[in-house]
Symmetry: D3
Subunit: 314 residues, 6 copies
């Protein structure tokens, strides 16, 4: 039985496939009955699922982040597709590919990693090079780095999103360095690579994306500085000044205290990193917001809470 | 008598040359005497000048923005050079080159203009092309555009500064367009050219730089939109939507209402323009702030009021 | 069949009349059925309409801003009136008066326009007079000016609202001028007239009120300055200083950058205009908020999002 | 010996007259000598005074807010007048008129008080009338009310300033009431009278103007509410609701929490009072700022710290 | 028939008891029927109540803040308990104890009052002592003071909450005074007692808790200062300076203008009072937010609007 | 020759002693001469020093942070003492006690350290205890910790200031824990100890106090988290959750993002730490501001830039 993808479901289509449970709640009807309301997900999107006449005992068997086998039919409710289930059972995880159930970057992580590595190979200063290599040669880190999304929502919120965002910034940084030759190439390239590494521990993406406790309590900026600390321990000759500049780049890249940076950018490369990050994130947020806007015909998107404005599609 | 440049004066050097008067005031000594205190300027910089035992009647003959012939000697006062004048007389303006007296871009305006024109020649959309050409073929505009500074102080505050800033942004825009191919090339290039054209009327640079009344009352953002209006009158077929997008790009390029933009950027090219502008202006401000910092030995600059922070020179 | 006005409908009343569709959506019931949910409007107000067992095909025939003929009965749902439709058909527009379907100022536009013209006739300075006359003699402008609302919601959100707001400010300005004789009469009166003219193009009121693309992208403040430009082109002798002061009055009338004015008011008349505008708008907003508050018996209104507070009715 | 007024002194004029000491400090010259530096004041203005070769013992005899008899000559120092004293002695206060030494309103307080009383006589509601009369019949209050300035600096900073400001607002309130007839006349008029009464205890104007301890610790807004409390104690029949509305008008008249109002205006008359106050204060501040600007020829004033902008004089 | 407490109700339990009506509204079902939706309350909590097939006439007989006798059964709806009523009738108030129906402090008010009185007995300065005694000997005040909640929601929102909050601050103040001996003991203790007395008139707690008109228009800070005024009238020898300091403590205890204090704390005891208040209120808010969080298993609470963050329960 | 202390110098006193140079600049007189202007310091305070007729060559031999032997006489200039030097020579550092030249805490560091250690000995949780012990047993850390000031200026700006501030908070924390028993004792005590440890590397106090490059680029909050990392490396069994909570306490103790905390306090102990820190720092700042205010007789201090207000001394 091949996987039926959420993004390909059509009204009236019979369904017999496995999905990941993103949310799950037992609800009652006014008439006194009860039904199970779920958000079902795979890598192509999410759909509401409903199982009528469910009991509390049954509901207790369906956990968020588990896989379920759903049989039923696609219907339309308030102009949105909905999966009316005839039966829902816990699925065997054996034989399932997690990659089928989580949104993923369109580009291949391996290819992106090779491109990023190629750019970072341009770093010549032996100190910055040693720092970069300490991360690139850390297999656990690399595995996380190529997997984690860049955010839970808003922009690059899919597996590989952090890598895609970092690679895009690195390629753009090469152009900025070409145009502003006074910028220190090695410092900027190394910092583009490092600026968001803390997200590998701020976000959990084993199943549905969420913030870890460390993410909420410490945050990716400080986590990133701590990960840097961890990796430079083996580099006793790294000059303190260079280490402080790398720490500063990570700390200040949000640009303003009220956006969570405990320090303002205080030299040219830190300013450049901040704008490279913002430019890439905002352009991605804009294109995703327009692509996902519900009113395809409207000239303007709905209000975007991340961008704090409506966007013109014209 | 060759022009002696301020930037080349050394302690003990006799002076016999012409300077532009940037400021002028009669001051008294505690002992009851009085002296004329001036800021003298040429394109290489400014120096304090002093003429002892000056009378009010004499002081009244020395106007700000006039040229004076100064004879005297360079001395050092509180670690700064100072020109102690033996005599100050009004200079004949005949034979003077204004260009010798105002700070100027290091690059040749003609060459920069050719480079900018070459970039703008890439605009293919006939509507945006017509708008660009309407300005490029306006000789009065072009003369102002290649002359005016980008600011009275902070960054690019020299003749040709606006052109240099605009050219830098245009060249950088080409790279951004290469990297983000979804951005509309012609819209962005035309808007980079137009975003600050209002500065040609916001700033006066005939002599020392200052804001015009129109600059203070209306501001370069609105002046720019009005100049656009003026130039598109001859283009009756320009679609209203494109005109509104160009207006929006000019209006929103400061990025936030509190920085004087009456509208937030509402589409991708407007966001890109905002970051291109900020990146170029901030990097220039940083490099000038560090270059001009008085304490050459210090690791940090003095507090910068435009950047609202001290900068690390390391 | 006479028009049945929304404001006069009572529970149990049979309805057989034409309404304007302000909003329209097909919704499903939990039981699997579907119904059409509409906001129906005429000049006296809005009412929810519902047609049960509607199909998607039928829903597609009902467009926002079209007229529909509704037969059914008024019922009460959660203490609000609701029109339960037996049938909904597209209405012939022939014979309909648009004025029956959009909220309108209680006062007659012609009379208000005569009063405003009479006040503006007091402008004596030939330059300001010429500017005022350029607008008053522009028939298209006048037609728009007497029609457009002052806002989509909050205050004066009805046809003729802008004219009523402007007239009220002009009459109040006469009193302010009497009390503060140092204020320049002609400058203030002309500016009161001009301050919001951009709203004629920022807002669309052909059917239900909404922002135009130009309104969202450029805004009424800049549009107003552009309309002024358009009208003074025929006045080559208008002194630049007076034109800049008029532009400044329009630009600065919101009083603060964060409210969308790119310039702060910089002379007495600009400050006076700002307070005249705010006083009239806020008092109107307060009286409308109290009048429309749902809990007629309560001593306090609900929280008002435009005023950012609850109001005391005592 | 007639009083020589500061405002009438001219360069070279011999001086033999009495002044009020606003500031006083012993300063040393670089050469090791010392001199007394004073700010001398009378109702027409302030002038710097200097007595050379003063001793610390002598300086200790000259107190701020005392009167001194100065003999000397007017000179010019850095384009400002300065009184070079030959001798300074403590003046007999007998025979001095305090009114000669403090800035005063140009209008006669008695006449202004009669005008204000006439306006307040229009209050018809017996409750509000009783409150107004309780203050008008309190001789101590009235004596203070007609004397105190409206501020230590910025606007109406002269004897009688509070009365002039209140009278101006009351007269303007009549016009606002005429134009907005829904406003409750008696509530607004009574509140205009009461809104700043706390300034009679917030400011001390016996000699040079300054804040009292109560002014700094409690502030005129709360003091005003307390003075109201004091005066309504004799009015047991005053309805609690009216008293709360009067308190609210006083408390909220600064319009925003960050300007020191603990409550936002919550009904129409409170909003009207806020704008009446701001309009009168700002217009006065503007006209005084322009009148007192040092550079009479300049088109723009210096930066005004109270208005947070430069003003256009055009 | 003993009172059945909301907090002890269990699914399936038959109910035959009296409750206080906190909210009441007639609602319609989609099918056209109607039901009465209530929030029923007693001192142990609130529960949703529903009576099916209610008429508008019947609904009009059930008033908010009245007592009703409900017969029915407890059911579960969307994981929350709900009381499905078979009958609802107005209850006789005779024999009811109001204390059974409003949330109350766990501690006994009499005991708390004795503890607070014991702490205040340490005030030795005869002036501050006289002020404290003026309140403690005012029986009406004391009755209100021991009854009123500290807030309508967020923290200490139960009968006796103000007393509990004040007592906790007073006991903590003793420790602060011990640690910072330079703080003036009597001033701080008296001010802790007085800082929130205005809440006795800002809040109404006869039935469900709400703001009074005086609370909304004047606020507890100013009401507190007025109550102080009232009580010191009988103390003619109280030095003005001490009175101003007490007023200042009350006025400034919110710490910042934007939190409703018209004055910033300007001496050490005022700062200490501000932190004592904030520490006690925030710790209480945190513990209540965690205790009441719906998702007992989650590691983080829902977003708290009063604290503007989510809380970690770990 | 015994050390003459700055704080004990009197007018007319001959001086022959060693001082630390805090600032040094060559200045010219108007008459063309030049003099050396210094700020001389020892642990008791600072005094202006002047050496007349100094040459640039001589000035170059006097470095900031060096020791100089000054012979001269104390005079009074503008009511401030001034040391007029007859001769200034570089001092032999041999035999000098640095402690004589830097401001120091009045209490003995050893004694304070013992008190703090005694409090920390109460920590019972083995994990938190291990963390605390890791620092207490680090001799280099302890040496820095008992030496460094808590700030360059504002509060506790003297050697031992950080220890005094931490000890005061720890002792106060014991009282807070006694009063709020739900707070986790060990977590709070350990965090009070750790919250500002980063200041040992943010501030340099070898000679005059200043920020280090690491202090400016990274800041004491992040440095503190890094130092924690360094010390827990030897504690492999420390649970991740406890480590994250300690990190969070350090990160969030400034309470708001705009004060440099990248995270808001998210549990009760973090809030308590924030208020303990603020209370101690503000009370110290207030008492120092009042003690150092120049106008001993005035009832109010000058404006304090750290507290953003003037203080009442009454």
């Amino acid at each position: 039985m091949p996987k039926q993808m959420v993004g390909a479901l059509r009204v009236g289509e019979p369904v017999d496939s496995v999905f990941l449970v993103a949310e799950c709640a037992l609800r009652s009807t006014r008439a006194g009955g009860s039904y199970l309301n779920l958000i079902l997900q795979d890598r192509s999107g999410q759909i509401v699922g409903r199982l009528w006449d469910a009991t509390e005992a049954f509901a207790a068997t369906i956990a968020v982040d588990s896989f379920v086998h759903v049989k039923g039919k696609v219907e339309s409710y308030q102009n949105q597709l909905q999966l009316n289930a005839r039966s829902i059972t816990r699925a065997e995880t054996e034989g399932l590919h997690l990659g089928d159930f989580l949104p993923q970057c369109e580009r291949d992580p391996g290819e992106m990693m090779r491109e990023l590595t190629a750019i970072l190979a341009q770093v010549q200063d032996p100190d910055y090079k040693a720092v970069v290599d300490a991360f690139l040669s850390d297999k656990d880190f690399c595995a996380d780095f190529r997997t984690v999304p860049a955010a839970v929502q808003n922009h690059h919120a899919y597996l590989g999103g952090l890598l895609e965002h970092t690679l895009s910034m690195a390629a753009m940084a090469l152009k900025v360095l070409e145009h502003y030759p006074a910028l220190r190439r090695d410092l900027l390239l190394a910092s583009v690579f490092l600026h968001d590494i803390g997200k590998t521990r701020e976000l959990s993406c084993k199943r549905t994306f969420r913030y870890t406790d460390a993410g909420n309590l410490v945050g990716h900026i400080t986590i990133g500085v701590l990960m840097l600390e961890d990796h430079v321990r083996a580099l006793p000759n790294l000059p303190e000044e260079k280490l402080n500049m790398l720490r500063h780049m990570i700390l200040s890249h949000h640009g303003e205290l009220e956006f969570g940076s405990p320090k303002l950018p205080m030299f040219a490369e830190a300013i450049a990193l901040h704008y490279l990050d913002n430019l890439d994130a905002k352009l991605k947020d804009i294109s995703e917001t327009i692509a996902e806007d519900k009113n395809a015909d409207a000239g303007w998107t709905d209000y975007s809470y991340s961008l704090k404005r409506r966007l013109y599609k014209g």
